[in-house]
Protein backbone atom coordinates (compact mmCIF):
# COMPACT_ATOMS: atom_id res chain seq x y z
CA UNK A 1 0.00 0.00 0.00
CA UNK A 2 2.67 2.52 -0.96
CA UNK A 3 -0.11 4.42 -2.75
CA UNK A 4 -0.67 6.29 0.52
CA UNK A 5 2.85 7.64 0.62
CA UNK A 6 2.64 8.52 -3.07
CA UNK A 7 -0.50 10.54 -2.38
CA UNK A 8 1.27 12.34 0.47
CA UNK A 9 4.01 13.43 -1.97
CA UNK A 10 1.35 14.49 -4.46
CA UNK A 11 -0.46 16.56 -1.82
CA UNK A 12 2.80 18.30 -0.90
CA UNK A 13 3.31 19.28 -4.52
CA UNK A 14 -0.28 20.49 -4.87
CA UNK A 15 -0.01 22.59 -1.69
CA UNK A 16 3.24 24.16 -2.89
CA UNK A 17 1.89 24.94 -6.36
CA UNK A 18 -1.37 26.38 -4.98
CA UNK A 19 0.61 28.63 -2.67
CA UNK A 20 2.98 29.69 -5.42
CA UNK A 21 0.07 30.72 -7.66
CA UNK A 22 -2.09 32.23 -4.91
CA UNK A 23 -4.87 29.72 -5.50
CA UNK A 24 -7.73 29.31 -3.03
CA UNK A 25 -8.14 25.69 -3.88
CA UNK A 26 -7.59 23.04 -6.50
CA UNK A 27 -10.47 21.90 -8.68
CA UNK A 28 -8.82 19.15 -10.60
CA UNK A 29 -5.63 17.13 -10.41
CA UNK A 30 -4.54 15.32 -13.55
CA UNK A 31 -2.00 12.53 -13.37
CA UNK A 32 -0.28 10.27 -15.81
CA UNK A 33 0.19 6.76 -14.44
CA UNK A 34 2.44 4.45 -16.44
CA UNK A 35 1.38 0.81 -16.59
CA UNK A 36 4.87 -0.11 -15.35
CA UNK A 37 5.06 2.59 -12.69
CA UNK A 38 4.14 0.17 -9.93
CA UNK A 39 1.02 2.01 -8.88
CA UNK A 40 -2.46 0.54 -8.70
CA UNK A 41 -4.81 3.30 -9.96
CA UNK A 42 -7.82 2.15 -7.90
CA UNK A 43 -5.79 2.24 -4.68
CA UNK A 44 -4.31 5.59 -5.61
CA UNK A 45 -7.80 7.04 -6.14
CA UNK A 46 -8.90 5.67 -2.78
CA UNK A 47 -5.86 7.11 -1.04
CA UNK A 48 -6.42 10.47 -2.74
CA UNK A 49 -10.03 10.64 -1.53
CA UNK A 50 -8.93 9.78 2.00
CA UNK A 51 -6.09 12.26 2.28
CA UNK A 52 -7.53 15.20 0.35
CA UNK A 53 -9.90 16.16 3.14
CA UNK A 54 -8.95 19.45 4.79
CA UNK A 55 -6.16 20.06 2.31
CA UNK A 56 -6.04 22.36 -0.68
CA UNK A 57 -7.36 19.37 -2.68
CA UNK A 58 -10.48 19.02 -0.53
CA UNK A 59 -12.84 19.53 -3.49
CA UNK A 60 -10.50 18.34 -6.18
CA UNK A 61 -11.44 15.80 -8.80
CA UNK A 62 -8.74 13.29 -9.66
CA UNK A 63 -8.15 12.39 -13.29
CA UNK A 64 -5.79 9.52 -13.98
CA UNK A 65 -4.61 8.92 -17.51
CA UNK A 66 -3.18 5.44 -17.79
CA UNK A 67 -0.11 5.51 -19.97
CA UNK A 68 0.71 2.33 -21.94
CA UNK A 69 4.33 1.54 -22.69
CA UNK A 70 5.87 3.41 -25.60
CA UNK A 71 8.69 1.37 -27.08
CA UNK A 72 11.32 2.63 -29.47
CA UNK A 73 12.90 -0.33 -31.23
CA UNK A 74 16.61 0.03 -31.88
CA UNK A 75 16.54 -2.75 -34.47
CA UNK A 76 13.56 -1.99 -36.72
CA UNK A 77 13.31 1.67 -35.59
CA UNK A 78 9.52 1.48 -35.14
CA UNK A 79 7.87 3.27 -32.25
CA UNK A 80 4.93 1.37 -30.82
CA UNK A 81 2.47 1.58 -27.97
CA UNK A 82 1.98 -1.59 -25.92
CA UNK A 83 -0.63 -2.36 -23.29
CA UNK A 84 1.03 -5.54 -22.03
CA UNK A 85 3.86 -5.44 -19.54
CA UNK A 86 6.55 -6.49 -21.95
CA UNK A 87 9.29 -4.63 -23.75
CA UNK A 88 9.25 -6.89 -26.82
CA UNK A 89 8.83 -4.87 -30.02
CA UNK A 90 5.46 -5.89 -31.54
CA UNK A 91 6.74 -5.00 -35.01
CA UNK A 92 9.85 -7.19 -35.20
CA UNK A 93 9.68 -9.34 -32.06
CA UNK A 94 13.08 -8.14 -30.85
CA UNK A 95 13.88 -7.01 -27.32
CA UNK A 96 16.39 -4.32 -28.21
CA UNK A 97 13.97 -1.56 -27.27
CA UNK A 98 14.02 1.66 -25.30
CA UNK A 99 11.08 2.37 -23.03
CA UNK A 100 10.09 5.95 -23.86
CA UNK A 101 7.03 6.17 -21.65
CA UNK A 102 4.86 4.14 -19.30
CA UNK A 103 7.23 3.71 -16.34
CA UNK A 104 6.59 6.98 -14.52
CA UNK A 105 3.91 8.57 -12.45
CA UNK A 106 3.59 12.25 -13.17
CA UNK A 107 1.54 15.21 -12.07
CA UNK A 108 0.53 16.71 -15.43
CA UNK A 109 -1.95 19.47 -14.80
CA UNK A 110 -3.84 21.30 -12.09
CA UNK A 111 -6.96 23.40 -12.41
CA UNK A 112 -6.61 26.09 -9.78
CA UNK A 113 -9.41 28.01 -8.16
CA UNK A 114 -7.99 31.51 -7.90
Amino acid sequence: MHEYSIVMSLMDQCEALALQHNAKGIEQVELKIGILSGVEPALLAQAFDTFKLETVCNDAKLIMNIQPLVLQCRDCEQQTQVNERTIICPACGGNNTLVMDGEDMMLMQLILDT
Binding site: M1, H2, S5, I6, S9, L10, D12, Q13, L17, Q20, H21, A23, E27, L31, K32, L36, S37, G38, V39, R85, T86, I87, I88, N95, N96, M100, D101, E103, D104, M105, M106, L107, M108, Q109, L110, I111, L112, D113, T114
Partner: protein, 250 residues
Protein backbone atom coordinates in the same frame (compact mmCIF):
# COMPACT_ATOMS: atom_id res chain seq x y z
CA UNK B 1 8.70 28.57 -23.80
CA UNK B 2 11.07 28.14 -20.92
CA UNK B 3 13.20 31.26 -20.63
CA UNK B 4 16.04 29.47 -18.90
CA UNK B 5 16.74 26.87 -21.53
CA UNK B 6 14.57 27.94 -24.45
CA UNK B 7 12.76 24.63 -24.81
CA UNK B 8 9.08 24.60 -25.63
CA UNK B 9 7.81 21.80 -23.48
CA UNK B 10 4.45 20.31 -24.35
CA UNK B 11 2.35 17.44 -23.05
CA UNK B 12 3.92 15.15 -25.59
CA UNK B 13 7.28 15.59 -23.95
CA UNK B 14 6.47 14.20 -20.57
CA UNK B 15 9.86 12.59 -20.25
CA UNK B 16 11.58 15.86 -20.84
CA UNK B 17 12.21 16.78 -17.24
CA UNK B 18 14.45 19.47 -16.05
CA UNK B 19 14.41 22.08 -13.42
CA UNK B 20 16.22 25.36 -13.06
CA UNK B 21 16.37 26.34 -9.42
CA UNK B 22 12.97 25.04 -8.51
CA UNK B 23 11.30 26.13 -11.73
CA UNK B 24 9.33 23.22 -13.12
CA UNK B 25 8.04 24.42 -16.45
CA UNK B 26 4.78 25.49 -14.84
CA UNK B 27 2.78 27.85 -16.98
CA UNK B 28 -0.47 29.55 -16.25
CA UNK B 29 -3.16 29.62 -18.89
CA UNK B 30 -6.32 31.58 -18.20
CA UNK B 31 -9.51 29.83 -19.09
CA UNK B 32 -11.51 32.40 -21.08
CA UNK B 33 -14.87 30.99 -20.01
CA UNK B 34 -14.20 30.93 -16.30
CA UNK B 35 -12.15 33.85 -15.14
CA UNK B 36 -11.47 32.47 -11.70
CA UNK B 37 -10.06 29.15 -12.90
CA UNK B 38 -6.57 28.65 -14.08
CA UNK B 39 -5.10 25.62 -15.73
CA UNK B 40 -1.55 24.96 -14.69
CA UNK B 41 0.56 22.62 -16.79
CA UNK B 42 3.00 20.99 -14.42
CA UNK B 43 4.67 17.82 -15.78
CA UNK B 44 6.38 16.84 -12.60
CA UNK B 45 7.36 13.43 -11.23
CA UNK B 46 5.22 12.68 -8.21
CA UNK B 47 8.14 11.20 -6.28
CA UNK B 48 10.46 14.04 -7.27
CA UNK B 49 11.44 14.84 -3.67
CA UNK B 50 12.39 11.23 -3.03
CA UNK B 51 14.43 11.17 -6.24
CA UNK B 52 16.35 14.30 -5.24
CA UNK B 53 17.09 12.77 -1.83
CA UNK B 54 18.14 9.52 -3.51
CA UNK B 55 20.67 11.38 -5.62
CA UNK B 56 21.94 13.07 -2.47
CA UNK B 57 22.48 9.61 -0.91
CA UNK B 58 24.29 8.39 -4.03
CA UNK B 59 26.59 11.42 -3.94
CA UNK B 60 27.25 10.73 -0.26
CA UNK B 61 28.19 7.10 -1.00
CA UNK B 62 30.37 8.22 -3.88
CA UNK B 63 32.24 10.79 -1.80
CA UNK B 64 33.23 7.93 0.53
CA UNK B 65 34.10 5.57 -2.32
CA UNK B 66 31.29 3.25 -1.31
CA UNK B 67 29.17 1.26 -3.76
CA UNK B 68 25.61 0.71 -2.62
CA UNK B 69 23.30 -2.14 -3.59
CA UNK B 70 19.57 -2.27 -2.93
CA UNK B 71 18.47 -5.83 -2.10
CA UNK B 72 14.81 -6.48 -2.77
CA UNK B 73 12.66 -9.60 -2.65
CA UNK B 74 9.65 -11.07 -0.91
CA UNK B 75 10.05 -11.96 2.78
CA UNK B 76 11.97 -15.15 3.37
CA UNK B 77 13.78 -15.43 0.06
CA UNK B 78 17.18 -15.25 1.73
CA UNK B 79 18.40 -11.64 1.73
CA UNK B 80 19.78 -11.70 5.25
CA UNK B 81 21.21 -15.21 4.84
CA UNK B 82 23.01 -14.13 1.68
CA UNK B 83 24.49 -11.15 3.54
CA UNK B 84 25.50 -13.37 6.46
CA UNK B 85 27.42 -15.69 4.14
CA UNK B 86 29.01 -13.20 1.72
CA UNK B 87 31.99 -12.07 3.86
CA UNK B 88 33.61 -15.44 3.28
CA UNK B 89 33.70 -14.75 -0.46
CA UNK B 90 34.34 -11.00 -0.58
CA UNK B 91 37.55 -9.16 0.19
CA UNK B 92 35.69 -5.88 0.52
CA UNK B 93 34.22 -4.78 3.81
CA UNK B 94 30.55 -3.95 3.90
CA UNK B 95 27.83 -2.57 6.12
CA UNK B 96 24.12 -3.21 5.89
CA UNK B 97 21.11 -0.95 6.31
CA UNK B 98 18.20 -3.16 7.27
CA UNK B 99 14.55 -2.35 6.70
CA UNK B 100 11.77 -4.22 8.47
CA UNK B 101 8.37 -3.33 9.84
CA UNK B 102 9.25 -4.57 13.31
CA UNK B 103 12.17 -5.98 15.34
CA UNK B 104 15.92 -5.67 14.86
CA UNK B 105 16.42 -9.40 14.33
CA UNK B 106 18.02 -9.08 10.92
CA UNK B 107 20.53 -6.48 12.08
CA UNK B 108 21.24 -8.59 15.18
CA UNK B 109 21.96 -11.63 12.99
CA UNK B 110 24.47 -9.65 10.92
CA UNK B 111 26.10 -7.96 13.91
CA UNK B 112 26.57 -11.45 15.41
CA UNK B 113 28.62 -12.25 12.29
CA UNK B 114 30.75 -9.14 12.79
CA UNK B 115 29.03 -7.10 10.06
CA UNK B 116 28.13 -3.50 10.87
CA UNK B 117 24.36 -3.23 10.49
CA UNK B 118 21.78 -0.59 11.30
CA UNK B 119 18.11 -1.46 11.54
CA UNK B 120 15.37 0.85 10.28
CA UNK B 121 11.99 -0.06 11.72
CA UNK B 122 9.44 1.26 9.27
CA UNK B 123 6.42 0.69 11.51
CA UNK B 124 3.71 0.10 8.95
CA UNK B 125 5.55 1.36 5.86
CA UNK B 126 5.92 -1.37 3.28
CA UNK B 127 9.10 -0.02 1.67
CA UNK B 128 12.20 2.04 2.36
CA UNK B 129 12.48 5.47 0.79
CA UNK B 130 15.49 7.71 0.25
CA UNK B 131 14.76 9.73 3.40
CA UNK B 132 14.81 6.65 5.64
CA UNK B 133 18.12 5.54 4.10
CA UNK B 134 19.53 9.03 4.62
CA UNK B 135 18.54 8.81 8.30
CA UNK B 136 20.26 5.44 8.63
CA UNK B 137 23.43 6.78 7.01
CA UNK B 138 23.94 9.00 10.05
CA UNK B 139 24.54 5.77 11.99
CA UNK B 140 26.88 4.04 9.54
CA UNK B 141 30.56 4.91 9.32
CA UNK B 142 31.34 4.71 5.59
CA UNK B 143 35.09 5.23 5.90
CA UNK B 144 36.09 1.65 6.77
CA UNK B 145 33.80 0.05 4.18
CA UNK B 146 33.71 -0.43 0.39
CA UNK B 147 30.13 -1.59 -0.01
CA UNK B 148 26.82 -0.72 1.63
CA UNK B 149 23.90 -3.09 1.16
CA UNK B 150 20.41 -1.75 1.74
CA UNK B 151 18.22 -4.69 2.63
CA UNK B 152 14.76 -3.44 1.75
CA UNK B 153 11.49 -4.47 3.39
CA UNK B 154 10.47 -7.93 2.16
CA UNK B 155 7.93 -7.06 -0.51
CA UNK B 156 7.88 -7.54 -4.28
CA UNK B 157 5.60 -4.57 -4.94
CA UNK B 158 6.16 -1.29 -3.12
CA UNK B 159 9.98 -1.02 -2.87
CA UNK B 160 10.17 -1.07 -6.69
CA UNK B 161 8.71 2.44 -6.90
CA UNK B 162 11.35 4.07 -4.69
CA UNK B 163 14.89 5.00 -5.62
CA UNK B 164 16.73 4.82 -2.29
CA UNK B 165 20.01 6.19 -3.63
CA UNK B 166 21.89 2.96 -4.25
CA UNK B 167 23.86 2.25 -7.42
CA UNK B 168 22.31 -1.06 -8.42
CA UNK B 169 19.19 -3.07 -7.66
CA UNK B 170 19.62 -6.74 -6.78
CA UNK B 171 16.34 -8.69 -6.76
CA UNK B 172 16.21 -12.13 -5.15
CA UNK B 173 13.76 -14.87 -6.06
CA UNK B 174 13.92 -18.10 -4.10
CA UNK B 175 13.16 -21.46 -5.68
CA UNK B 176 10.16 -22.24 -3.40
CA UNK B 177 8.43 -19.00 -4.49
CA UNK B 178 8.12 -20.22 -8.08
CA UNK B 179 9.33 -18.94 -11.45
CA UNK B 180 5.97 -17.26 -12.15
CA UNK B 181 6.79 -14.40 -9.77
CA UNK B 182 8.69 -12.57 -12.51
CA UNK B 183 5.55 -12.29 -14.62
CA UNK B 184 3.37 -11.53 -11.60
CA UNK B 185 5.54 -8.70 -10.25
CA UNK B 186 6.82 -7.12 -13.47
CA UNK B 187 7.74 -3.71 -12.06
CA UNK B 188 10.12 -5.19 -9.51
CA UNK B 189 11.86 -7.44 -12.03
CA UNK B 190 11.96 -4.65 -14.60
CA UNK B 191 13.86 -2.43 -12.13
CA UNK B 192 16.42 -5.12 -11.34
CA UNK B 193 20.00 -4.84 -12.53
CA UNK B 194 20.63 -8.35 -11.27
CA UNK B 195 18.26 -11.19 -10.46
CA UNK B 196 19.54 -13.82 -8.05
CA UNK B 197 17.67 -17.10 -7.84
CA UNK B 198 18.35 -18.31 -4.30
CA UNK B 199 18.00 -21.67 -2.53
CA UNK B 200 19.04 -23.45 -5.72
CA UNK B 201 19.79 -26.56 -3.63
CA UNK B 202 16.01 -26.99 -3.53
CA UNK B 203 15.62 -27.14 -7.33
CA UNK B 204 15.20 -30.95 -7.34
CA UNK B 205 12.19 -30.64 -5.03
CA UNK B 206 10.26 -27.83 -6.74
CA UNK B 207 8.91 -27.27 -10.26
CA UNK B 208 10.97 -24.13 -10.66
CA UNK B 209 12.17 -23.75 -14.24
CA UNK B 210 15.28 -21.62 -14.68
CA UNK B 211 14.51 -21.60 -18.41
CA UNK B 212 11.03 -20.18 -17.75
CA UNK B 213 12.51 -17.52 -15.48
CA UNK B 214 14.98 -16.57 -18.23
CA UNK B 215 12.20 -16.32 -20.79
CA UNK B 216 10.13 -14.01 -18.59
CA UNK B 217 13.14 -11.80 -17.91
CA UNK B 218 13.87 -11.69 -21.62
CA UNK B 219 10.45 -10.09 -22.21
CA UNK B 220 10.76 -7.59 -19.39
CA UNK B 221 14.38 -6.80 -18.75
CA UNK B 222 16.66 -8.32 -21.41
CA UNK B 223 19.91 -6.81 -20.14
CA UNK B 224 19.54 -8.07 -16.57
CA UNK B 225 22.18 -10.42 -15.20
CA UNK B 226 20.98 -13.70 -13.72
CA UNK B 227 22.65 -15.75 -11.01
CA UNK B 228 21.52 -19.05 -9.58
CA UNK B 229 22.95 -19.71 -6.16
CA UNK B 230 22.70 -21.42 -2.84
CA UNK B 231 24.64 -20.37 0.24
CA UNK B 232 25.39 -24.09 0.61
CA UNK B 233 27.13 -24.14 -2.75
CA UNK B 234 30.44 -22.23 -2.41
CA UNK B 235 31.05 -22.26 -6.16
CA UNK B 236 27.81 -20.38 -6.84
CA UNK B 237 28.64 -17.87 -4.09
CA UNK B 238 32.08 -17.24 -5.61
CA UNK B 239 30.52 -16.45 -8.98
CA UNK B 240 28.15 -13.92 -7.41
CA UNK B 241 30.92 -12.38 -5.29
CA UNK B 242 32.94 -12.04 -8.48
CA UNK B 243 30.10 -10.05 -10.05
CA UNK B 244 29.96 -7.71 -7.04
CA UNK B 245 33.70 -7.26 -7.24
CA UNK B 246 33.43 -6.20 -10.89
CA UNK B 247 30.53 -3.84 -10.34
CA UNK B 248 32.02 -1.48 -7.81
CA UNK B 249 31.75 2.21 -8.57
CA UNK B 250 35.44 3.04 -8.83
Amino acid sequence: MCKDCGCSITHDHADHQHTHGGHHHGQLHSNPQLNDKKTLAVIHKILDKNDVEAQHNRDHFKSHNVTAFNLMSSPGSGKTTLLECLPEYLEQKYAVIEGDLETSRDADRLIAKGINAYQIQTGSACHLDAFMVHGALHHIDLDPIDICFVENVGNLVCPASYDVGTHKNIVLLSVPEGDDKIEKYPVMFRRADVVVITKSDLLPYFDFSIEQAKQQLHKLNPNVELFVLSVKNPESMKIFAHWINHNLEH
